[in-house]
């Protein structure tokens, strides 16, 4: 390190250390308190496997929905700066800062039996979404999609338009140009967006428990299972938390180039 650039005020070190410990301590606690001996039976119990399967299924479907619906939305957002675009961008960003429980409640008011759209869904299609697996997917998509859309929109905005111009002069229409030039070139951003959205979907708790409840096998995903186990089987809660911690570490590892670029 260049010593000329490392002159920091000393007083800064103490609060910085406290902050670092604040992050380290809970992690250590979780690891030391983990029921390492009973880990295998805890993690292979029926309930756990059920929650794990449900979580994986729902988060993957949510990620897929983010791709199918979020990619067109991100593309549209990247091509404008008007009032309409800004308004939609605010709308999309909202779930990132909104307390998830409020999001869940809002979803309930929209899709519930007496809700804005829910009543019609029940009357016309017999679709009763709240407290079903579909509700889990809907809630996780709602909170995860902003991560995907904003990441991909950023990637598309920095995308070099000169390549789509070249494609057009070579006879490629907008659709072909998007598929054969834009998508391959923004692929790294696309992957990062998907991974972020999936991680967020996997950890989703607040909106899901409000909108889908906690029914074993149907809506009890891993995070909700942790919450449930806290009352019924505390060691299992820690064991399940380790699984989620492991997944988070994996996501960090996969996104390392994006977040921790080497100097």
């Amino acid at each position: 390190m260049n010593r000329a650039h490392s002159r920091l005020p000393n007083w800064l070190l103490a609060p910085a250390l406290i902050a670092a410990v604040l992050f380290l301590l809970p992690l250590l606690a979780l690891l030391t308190e983990a029921p390492w001996r009973d880990l295998l039976p805890l993690l292979t119990s029926n309930e756990t496997l059920q929650a794990l399967a449900l979580s994986v299924r729902c988060s993957l479907i949510a990620a897929l929905l983010c791709l199918l619906l979020g990619l067109p939305l991100a593309t549209w957002l990247a091509h404008g700066n008007g009032l309409l675009h800004t308004s939609v961008r605010v709308l999309v960003t909202l779930p990132m800062v909104l307390p998830p429980i409020v999001g869940g409640l809002a979803l309930l008011k929209a899709f519930g039996g007496n809700g804005l759209l829910g009543g019609a869904l029940v009357d016309w299609f017999g679709l009763d979404i709240p407290f079903t697996t579909s509700a889990v997917v809907l809630a996780t998509t709602y909170v995860a999609m902003p991560f995907f859309v904003l990441t991909v929109e950023g990637g598309l905005r920095t995308f070099d338009r000169r390549y789509t111009e070249a494609a057009a002069t070579l006879g490629a229409g907008p659709w072909r140009s998007f598929c054969t030039v834009t998508l391959p070139l923004v692929q790294p951003t696309l992957r990062a967006g998907l991974l972020l959205a999936w991680a967020r979907a996997l950890g989703e708790f607040g909106a899901t428990i409000t909108f889908a409840g906690s029914f074993a096998g149907r809506t009890r995903t891993l995070p909700i299972a942790v919450h449930h186990a806290l009352d019924t089987n505390p060691p299992a809660a820690v064991a399940l938390s380790l699984v989620l911690l492991l997944v988070s570490a994996l996501v960090l590892f996969l996104l390392r180039h994006r977040w921790f670029p080497s100097r």
Binding site: R162, Y163, E165, A166, A167, A168, T169, L170, G171, A172, G173, R176, T180, V181, P184, L185
Partner: protein, 348 residues
Amino acid sequence: MTLAADFTARRGALDLQIALAVGNGETLALLGPNGAGKTSCLRVLAGLDAIERGQVRIDDDVVDDGEHFVPPEERGIGVVFQEHRLFPHLRVRDNVAFGLRSRGIKARIARAAAATWLDRLEMTRFADARPDELSGGQAQRVALARTLATRPRLLLLDEPLAAADATARQLLRRTLQTQLRTFPGGCVVVAHDIDDALALADRVAVIENGCIVQCGTLDELSNKPASRYVADLVGLNRFRGTCRDHVLTTDDGARIVVGSVHDGPVVATLHPRAVALFPERPAGSPRNVFEANVVTVERALDCYRVQLAGELPVVAEVTESAVRDLHLDRGVSVWVAIKATEFRVAPM
């Protein structure tokens, strides 16, 4: 006519007002100072920017008339950009096949056609390379192959030689010449300098401030350069002033004896070859004789260009032996002689 364009367009602070036409098999070079609107003009022709008023026609199709706009992919044009713009995620072969694939041609056939074009441009051995593995000149060859493979009606080249280094430039220029000779459609090339323009094009259009100030062959431009820039471009000396009784008084106050019969405000041009240099005051008939100091001596294609400061600032073209014999170098004093009949004078 392959291309007939007469339009106005806005691009940033620049107002373009362009009228030009290019026939089948003809190449027109666009020349002009930086920011004059050469590239902007090319973008309009390509359909990357729209016009405000007027019309752009390719063959018999109106591709833009200020209301109806045909996008680039439907114009049947081909563009080689200044910075090659090869797709970084595709190998050279697939870059060249891209245009044909976009036209719905099967991958196998498109790749075969790509191989043919790579061969024509002597790039076959780079077929499997990635664009970032190529030098500037090589990449531009691939870009040219990629564009020609689509068999455009109108070829648009934006300073195609700019990205190549000096040696590659010579080769690339020759390749371009060969390709343009056999190219059946029309071609508009934005040229970096007059040498490139003359090597590639039949006619030159000079753009200044968004307008075409002059369009014609080199002879036409040299005979009556429409502006200071055109005169400099073709290497001519150009003087503005007022003429009376065969004496031209320049705007800077120098007095020149000319053969002209025009009286009033005029522009006079003088070919640098007509400027003779002597170590001492020459005897004889030249009407204009004065002493001057050498400012610069530059090597041109087949001679030396000597810039002189004196009563009349002029550029002279001399041989290498003259440079040696007269010890021409910065600050050296010489005598300049110009015959009155060497000035071409045109009323303004």
